[in-house]
């Protein structure tokens, strides 16, 4: 299918200047979100998910690479197109405590954008629209919340006001940054069902950041998951494949770390520490070769610490891992014994030239 994606990130890079030198928070990311589809972004704290999302939402300008909305690069948009893009693409801030203006009531927050774009006429219509939005996110009866200030709301209530505000603009693309993280399981299911209806009935596309793999699985079952590690995508493919049969050692470790609500299982799992090190490498001083190698349980000296692994197709998804790529090559050519480089244990094949 070659329909133009809603959102396309190509070679996205974001380098921050800090006192200790440049920090490459995002180091070359290629991703697409199609209408009515979900792309989930998961990965370690600090790996660049929010930075990617902010560039996609046009809040920050990437230091290199391009963001395209419906085939048009942001940098090539005229004023009218930019306004349209700002309305169609809504970013839901990761921190609901920072995202709401403390001096505005919920009603005022929810309707500010609508008024600015001339989408509601008069106070009665605005209040009715705001009440409808609150019902969508389970804040009922709406009258109890319309005139409240953010400090009068609990964390999860603020988070839902934030979501409701983004829905006000009838967005075509929602960029959700951990938007269900403060909700209890029951309300979370209900909110995901609401968002799922937007996806299925109104064809809204989602760039959905979450650390919760169950949420990713539930919401992006027909979509894709991209796993990031230190500024790069290390595994990317259809959700059921990535969750059910992870290939990259980092993804495997993530899925292995899931705790179920079961105290006995949890105790049994506690001892299962699988990584070689818990240390997250510094962005100022990335390890040579595969950035995951100091922690990777599948690390092979000489194989992993030379060059950066590129994303390559493996098992219906892209994986950036030397060992996975090598094992795949072996599996693909089990019979050409005369040509194999692996006949002598420990010998190496040359690195592949191209990715993807």
């Amino acid at each position: 299918m070659s329909e133009t994606p809603l959102l396309k990130l190509s070679g996205l890079e974001q380098v921050f200047d800090t006192r200790k030198g440049p920090v490459a928070a995002v180091g070359g990311v290629d991703l697409e979100v199609k209408a009515g589809k979900v792309l989930c972004l998961v990965g370690e704290s600090g790996c660049g998910k929010t930075t990617t999302a902010r560039a996609a939402a046009g809040i920050t300008r990437p230091t290199s690479g391009a963001v395209e909305f419906r085939g048009k690069p942001l940098t090539a948009m005229n004023a009218a197109e930019r306004t349209e893009y700002r309305r169609s693409v809504q970013y839901i801030h990761q921190d609901p405590y920072a995202a709401l203006n403390p001096t505005r009531t919920v009603y005022s927050t929810l309707t500010a954008g609508l008024k600015r774009h001339g989408l509601v006429k008069g106070r009665t219509e605005a209040r009715a629209k705001a009440a409808e939005l609150l019902r969508l996110v389970d804040l009922t009866p709406p009258e109890s919340y319309l005139d409240a200030y953010p400090h009068q709301l609990s964390g999860g209530q603020r988070q839902r006001v934030n979501v409701a505000r983004s829905l006000a603009m009838d967005p075509k693309l929602l960029i959700c940054d951990e938007s269900t993280s403060m909700l209890d399981v029951s309300i979370r299911v209900s909110l995901l069902n609401t968002l799922g209806r937007l996806r299925d009935e109104l064809d809204v596309g989602f760039l959905f950041i979450t650390h919760d793999l169950a949420v990713a699985k539930y919401f992006a079952w027909d979509g894709e998951i991209a796993v990031m590690y230190l500024g790069k995508v290390v595994e990317h493919g259809p959700t059921p494949e990535v969750i059910g049969n992870p290939q990259h050692p980092y993804t495997k470790a993530l899925i292995g770390a899931v705790c179920e609500p079961d105290p006995d299982l949890a105790k049994a799992n506690r001892s299962a520490e699988q990584l070689r090190s818990a240390e997250i490498p510094s962005l100022h001083d990335l390890p040579a070769g595969c950035a995951f190698h100091p922690r990777c349980p599948a690390f092979e000296p000489g194989v992993c610490d030379g060059e950066r692994p590129l994303l390559q197709l493996a098992e219906r998804r892209n994986v950036a891992c030397h060992v996975v790529a090598r094992d795949r090559r072996r599996a693909a050519a089990p019979d050409d014994r005369t040509l194999t480089f692996d006949a002598v244990p420990g010998s190496r094949r040359p690195e592949p030239e191209s990715a993807i």
Partner: protein, 362 residues
């Protein structure tokens, strides 16, 4: 050591919402916490968890007020103190040195114009007992050590401003700050919401170790039942401002007796297996301004009878155990609740459902 470290009796907290109006966010809380215990506080968004957590340290915002009850702590020197009678100066010393809190929305809890290292300096200088002099070098050494326990690189983080750290990094820095003065009681409000699983795991492990080493008591508020199962000895479920069930972690996760707790556990989405059709608990959480009569859960409860609508239902003792580990539930029909754990196995994946009432069978 059978005295509780913190004893809460009949605690109620209200927020002013107008000149003469107020809403009660938390009511009738009785709780005894013993040394080295970890208690998970779970419950629906808006049910009063943060309010209770803040109340335990008298950290409520200006419009919040403890309207009744008592809070008694056993201090490090062995004396007991009534928190509600403490003077501001005593209270300042008490906080952080005796009991500390990791706030929800941690990402926003740092002052944006102050470097991380100076947050440590302020806390160490303001709240310590004054016996130790916190020079710049001493602050940096202590802060560095604390940051390392939460897997942050002190070289980079200490000199950073809060906006230069990711959400999860800020959250970890705040945990480090909270344990800076070796508190006896640590209240953590959604301490790992922004963290990926591996970082969460390692923080959980750190907390286990720190608790072993320093012997603090932990109250942690979470919506993540997996985390509660992993970290808690005891669990208390809250609904509409009240504790409606308490028990050991095994009581709550294997044999919940309040229909709300059972529904909550069954709404957890499994990561393993096929994708089940999930159901949330039907209906909406009540708003404080329109609280249902009787058992506040009755409009959403499959077991509700007329008796549930009439009067307040108190916690019933189901299994008695020492040290606050008893199983109690506030439900008239708890004997009818049979919890069936939702299956997470691929071979038998089936829709999750709210526990069905036995009496509903024809």
């Amino acid at each position: 050591m059978t005295d509780p470290i913190l004893s809460v009796r009949d605690l109620s907290i209200a927020y002013k919402t107008g000149r003469k109006e107020s809403v009660t966010a938390v009511s009738g809380i009785d709780l005894d916490l013993y040394e080295r215990q970890s208690l998970a506080l779970v419950g629906e968004s808006g049910c009063g968890k943060t309010t209770l957590g803040l109340g335990l340290l008298r950290l409520l915002p200006g419009l919040g007020e403890i309207t009744s009850g008592s809070l008694t702590y056993r201090l490090k020197d062995g004396s007991t103190a009534d928190l509600l009678k403490m003077k501001p100066e005593q209270l300042r010393r008490f906080r952080w040195a005796e009991a500390a809190m990791v706030f929800q929305g941690a990402m926003n809890a740092f002052n944006p114009v102050i470097k991380i290292v100076d947050h440590f300096a302020d806390t160490l200088r303001d709240h310590s007992d004054g016996k130790r002099k916190w020079t710049k070098a001493a602050v940096e050494a202590r802060a560095g050590e604390l940051l390392e326990t939460v897997r942050l690189d002190p070289d980079r983080v200490l000199q950073s401003y809060p906006h230069e750290l990711s959400g999860g990094m800020k959250q970890r820095a705040l945990i480090a700050l909270a344990i800076a003065l070796d508190p006896q009681v640590l209240v953590l409000d959604e301490p790992t919401t922004a963290l990926d699983l591996l970082t969460q795991r390692s923080i959980v492990q750190q907390l286990h170790e720190l608790r072993k080493k320093f012997g603090f008591t932990m109250v942690f508020i979470t919506h993540d039942l997996g985390l509660a199962a992993e970290l808690a000895d005891r669990v208390a479920t809250m609904y509409a401002g009240r504790i409606i069930e308490t028990g050991s972690a095994r009581d709550i996760f294997y044999e919940p007796k309040h229909p709300y707790t059972a529904g909550l556990i069954n709404a957890v989405m499994p990561v393993k297996g096929l994708r089940p059709q999930l159901e949330s608990i039907p209906g909406y959480p009540p708003s404080l301004k329109a609280m249902p009569s009787g058992c506040a859960f009755h409009p959403r409860c499959a077991f509700a009878t007329d008796a549930c609508k009439n009067e307040r239902i108190d916690l019933d003792l189901l299994t008695e155990r020492p040290l606050g580990m008893s199983h109690t539930a506030a439900c008239l029909h708890h004997d009818q609740v049979r919890f069936e754990r939702k299956c997470t196995d691929t071979s038998a994946a089936r829709p999750a459902s709210i526990v069905e009432s036995e009496t509903a069978d024809v």
